[in-house]
Symmetry: C2
Subunit: 122 residues, 2 copies
């Protein structure tokens, strides 16, 4: 069983900026058929993450201001990290995706539990 790395399974992230409306982000989740949107600034640096779970929470609480639903303390991965490490982080924090960033916190992509599961099915 060779070791896989995050760089072997990561893919392009669907992103948004902090000034976008929650309705626009909900539309992007639907049209791109993903559950995770990574929030970036103009330099593509990581600012947060918003998921379909957060949008569901906004609906349940009747709120609609994005800044109230963005998760700011983001668990991330590096491309050269073993995939096992990324899987352990997702299990530990009960999350299903990690933005992949470089040392300057620029977003390079995303790795999800679905990517890891797909590897098993190969």
């Amino acid at each position: 069983q060779e070791t896989s790395f995050v760089s072997n399974v990561m893919h392009d992230a669907v992103t948004c900026t902090e000034d976008e409306e929650i309705q626009t982000i909900a539309n992007r989740i639907v049209t791109k058929s993903v559950n995770h949107i990574i929030v970036i600034n103009a330099d593509k640096k990581l600012r947060g993450i918003v998921t379909s779970w957060d949008i569901t929470k906004a609906m349940a609480e009747g709120k609609n201001e994005l800044s109230k639903f963005v998760t700011r303390r983001v668990i991330t991965a590096k491309p050269e990290e073993p995939l096992e490490t990324a899987s352990r982080k997702m299990a530990k924090y009960n999350i299903s995706a990690l933005p992949v960033i470089n040392r300057e916190r620029k977003v390079l992509g995303i790795v999800t539990a679905e990517d890891v599961s797909r590897l098993l099915g190969k």
Copy 2:
């Protein structure tokens, strides 16, 4: 690398019935901290699935009748199925969970991409 089966990683499903309101289901997704709710009838038989993605779609389209958002054609798994088969099904249909059912379509639990990913991290 021993073979794992769905029964090794499946867990209890969070469920709802067809008469429940979308707001109630959104609350359950939040309080149970899950993305998938399995729709069952009084005999615990499978009737559909609703996810945080479906709730996001309801929000994006400004609709709020559950019957419009339940996915009826559900991809499922059996407990004795190899986990690799379940992973392949999730990858093929771009979904992240499979209700686990018996021959009478009674819901026994759920297996998710997160469960599969957690196995890699062990």
